[in-house]
């Protein structure tokens, strides 16, 4: 017997959901959705769960992650209940529920908290420099170390435990068993979806089919660009080689410098277009942007631009006199690595692909039954 919790509605609204109460259960959204199937009937079912406040059902549901927000459900809703936006908000809600620290929830629900967190980072970075704790060289040196430790630390302390929690909520609660073989057999799903988002290609909304395809390509390039830039800066130490003007770089270093430029340019171009889309609000998925959506695309954009600029200043050998550019880049980077990656929208990169993986595990178990 499930208890109806009408207060949940207020909670989920803080994650960006709005008009879903208007739903009168016609089921048009589920009928029109090209991604839903018999096993995962969304969005109607999730609207019901939300309206009734059945939190444990929502928490153990993988469905929100199976939606790629083409928006066709929202445009065809006769009550303008915007099911697409509810699915988006439920993803934010789920991120906050997977997060063991609870900080994701605080940040999602509270813009002020977000801003305070950003300000703290600015204060810390600027403080370290202005307070003469580090000089320029040390700043750059430790900046690079920070990147490496942040990646390992955030993953080990935050993301890995969160993924285990997600596994528990989705796989364990739904199947009540752990079969290693099924987990190994289905692992390819994880990587396919992590790097290709091929499922989103099945969104076959008639109106903007072309745009959906373009969006998929841009998103694909963004993933490549972002991972490439991450690899170039952290592992290949993009800011390490000497200035191009001074010369004397090895062929390997030259290669690193060039791919760094290429990757940051890709990230810049795509995120610029993404920001433009959110401003223009031409498609359903970009009409309603939560602060966390803005932070995600803008910080990616700023990060790629500032990285590009820093490397450019190094290559023209004028970074010393324009060191604020590096500081700016570092601030963006730290905010990104400590706020947006562990607690913000970045996590969808992991959770969405793991959701696909978990979903195929559940399906295999169900089939065996």
């Amino acid at each position: 017997m499930a208890k109806v919790n009408p207060d949940f509605v207020k909670d989920i609204k803080k994650f960006g959901a709005d008009e879903f109460s208007a739903c009168y259960n016609c089921g048009n959204c589920t009928a029109i959705c090209s991604l839903t199937d018999k096993n995962n009937a969304f969005p109607r079912k999730l609207i019901r769960y939300t309206v009734l406040g059945l939190e444990s059902e929502i928490k153990s549901s993988v469905d929100p992650w199976l939606c790629y927000y083409c928006g066709e459900c929202s445009t065809s809703c006769p009550r303008q209940a915007d099911p697409g936006n509810l699915m988006m908000s439920l993803r934010r809600y789920l991120i906050s529920k997977y997060d063991w620290t609870g900080l994701a929830g605080v940040l999602y629900k509270n813009l002020t908290a977000y801003i305070i967190a950003f300000l703290v980072v600015i204060g810390g970075v600027v403080g370290l420099y202005v307070g003469d704790v580090f000089n320029q060289e040390q700043m750059m040196h430790y900046g690079h170390y920070f990147e490496m430790f942040a990646i390992v630390g955030v993953f080990a302390l935050i993301l890995l435990p969160n993924l285990i929690r997600m596994w528990y909520l989705i796989v364990w609660k739904n199947t009540k068993k752990f079969v290693l073989k099924t987990h190994i057999d289905n692992i390819k799903e994880l990587f396919i979806h992590m790097f290709t988002q091929k499922r989103s290609l099945s969104c076959d909304s008639e109106e903007n089919k072309k745009d959906e395809k373009l969006w998929w390509f841009e998103h694909f390039m963004l993933v490549i660009g972002y991972l490439g830039l991450l690899f170039t800066t952290v592992v290949l130490n993009w800011f390490g080689p000497k200035s191009l003007i001074e010369g004397g770089n090895s062929a390997g270093s030259l290669f690193v410098i060039i791919i760094g430029y290429v990757f940051s340019a890709i990230v810049f171009v795509v995120t610029f277009d993404f920001v433009k889309r959110r401003i223009q609000k031409k498609s359903e998925k970009t009409t309603k942007s939560h602060p966390s959506d803005w932070f995600f695309v803008i910080w990616l954009l700023l990060m790629s631009v500032s990285a590009f600029a820093v490397r450019l200043l190094i290559d023209f050998n004028v970074l010393e006199n324009n060191f604020w550019v590096f500081l700016f880049h570092l601030i963006i980077l730290v905010q990104w690595a400590l706020i947006i990656v562990p607690f913000g929208k970045w996590t969808h990169f992991l959770y969405r692909s793991f959701a696909m993986y978990f979903s195929s595990i559940i399906n295999t178990v169900e089939k065996k039954k």
């Binding site: 009408p6 008009e19 079912k45 009734l52 059945l54």
Partner: protein, 732 residues
Amino acid sequence: MKERIGIYICHCGGNISDYVDVEEIGKMLKEEDGVVISKDVMFACADSNQKQMVQDIVDNKLDAIVVASCSPKLHLHTFKNVAERAGLNPTNYVQVNIREQCSWPHSDQPREASVKAMGLIRAGMNRVSHSESLDNIEITVKKSVLVVGAGIAGMKAAIDLARLGNEVYLIEKDYFVGGHIAQSDNLFMSGQKGKEIVSNLYKEVKSFKNITVFTGVEVEKVTGSVGNFAIDIKIKPRFIKQKADFELVKKAMEECNTFVEDEFNLGFAKRKAIYKNYPEALPDLPVVIVDAIKEEKALLEKYATCFDLNQKDELLSLTAGAILIATGYDSYQPAEGEYGYKTVPNVITLPEFNRMIELNPNGLIHNGNKVKKVAFIYCVGNRQTKGDNKYCSRQCCSAAINTSIQIKEKYEDITAFHLFRDVRTYGKQEILYEKSSKQGDIYIRFDEKEPPKVELQGKKALVKVKDYLTAKKELELEADLVVLVTGMVSRSDSKHISEKFKIPIGTDKFFNEIHPKLKPVETVIRGVLIGGSCQGPKNISESVQSSLSAAAKINALLKSGTISLDPIIARVDNSLCTWCGKCAEVCEYDAVSEVEFDGKQVAQVNKAVCTGCGICAPICPYNAIEIAQFTDIEIESMIDGFMQKIEFNVKAAEEEKVEEKEVLTMKEFPQIWKNIFKLIEENKKTIPQLAEELNVSTDIITYHVMTMNKYSMVLADGMDTKEEYYYYTKKN
């Protein structure tokens, strides 16, 4: 006996003549005694034939006519009018139905169809030969109307009837006018206060000198019939002296300290022993509850000039030409334990909830709890597949949702659950449903098989329900208040009204109209009409619509001062009648009474009341009572006519075939058929092709081709390349 009869047998353009040998029948009947004219015609109802018939009647001095064609429902009046135009009394006309009763049902046995048609026509001929000339019964009527019930339906009808110049008596059972709507503070869709509408209507009623309002009235006896009803009413006293100082009465009301149950507020308040339903209630004169006020001796002494506890019921007799019943409805009263009603203190009905809201403008407290969560349970006492009330009360969904919107606006922090079976907010009321769900009301759908269960948990009600919108998930919800959305039922005193006015009650216990579509406000009692929700569940607009339509009907009835009634009624042969009273016993309309005639007691039929139903005729042991146009001799002669052996000239098989072909080569094809033939003779064609070439719309071509197909004149011959349309060719 009629000696000069004219018989017309209709082909109905082939509808009859394809199967019934109308020509032969026509020839055969010509030989019968008393038949002057007997002929078959292509369309009896055609203007040209009607003119010919009038000419025939006049020229040949016909004294009766028979038309054998379609159902009398279609053309009885057509040919009655023909008779009238030719100066023949229309009662000397008989219609015989040989289409619906012969050619259509027996198309597979044309010869038997012809024999049956012949028998039926001969029966009709025999009957018409015994027909009498009867004239309509004219009755003088009083231009006055009794309106029973001063709710919104009754008051609106009274106003319109008065405006049209009728004398109106508006009687109300309660001491105050307004009925149910005074109990609602916020009416959907206008949001008006019921009490304001009542006050305005009453003001309007009082502005008409030809409306007399009586309150506290009971109907004692109703006699008479349309045009001249006599109604005895009993007016209950208010126990306030007629010449009492009104200010003093008011003071006494203020000072009164004895309280009794308050029916108007449904238990959510007490009322004084000198009371009005609500402060603005009209007529503006309080009522004294004698049993209760007897205790307050000091008050009675102080205001001795105001009260007269010895007032008696007043009896009054009214006469009215017509009666409008607008007695309204009762709200369904749940049984004890139904969804926890009366057993769980948090459970109330929607009408009770509406009173509670109006009496508590600042905050809802129930059972010592601040009300924050309200659960509405729909369809209580309605749409019972197993119970008595199978109908839907149609207004309760909207009423519940309206209340739900209202409490959210009026009080802070209210959550509303709606446990419904179907939401039927038809028409504009759909807007309310949308508003309510957009404001966050939670809708949960249950099935009659698995109704919600209400239990008490601490100070709250715990409702358990299976949600059919969430894969039948079992849900539990806490509510401070459970509101049962009760439907409408017939008034508890409907039976009394039905007995007094002799109007029938349906299986749903509401008053019955004659025909829901064609005579929606008339009852079987001529002159007694019904309006508003006494007829069945209606919302306010629908109630007013029906009562106004009844008012219009009444005005049309009384307008000319006389009423013309059909002469087909019972009549008594005084020489045979011995007054055993059996006819009076069975008469459902009380049309038979005992009178003295020629030194003995006989039965007399009230011409205005008798409907000619015929129940009295077979009951009479002396055969002294008969129905005009249905006399024994007429009926017996019909049977004789039908039973008479019919010697039909049996046609040889070849001959019949020839005749069938004749249908095909019928001269009177429409031009369009000829055109179609011409085109498809050369090449097979589809309907769209024909439409284009003939420059006629496809609908019309479809109609004609299908008709030709029915008569086997065309043949489908394969489909076009797109497999969209059939080709048609001429059938040989």
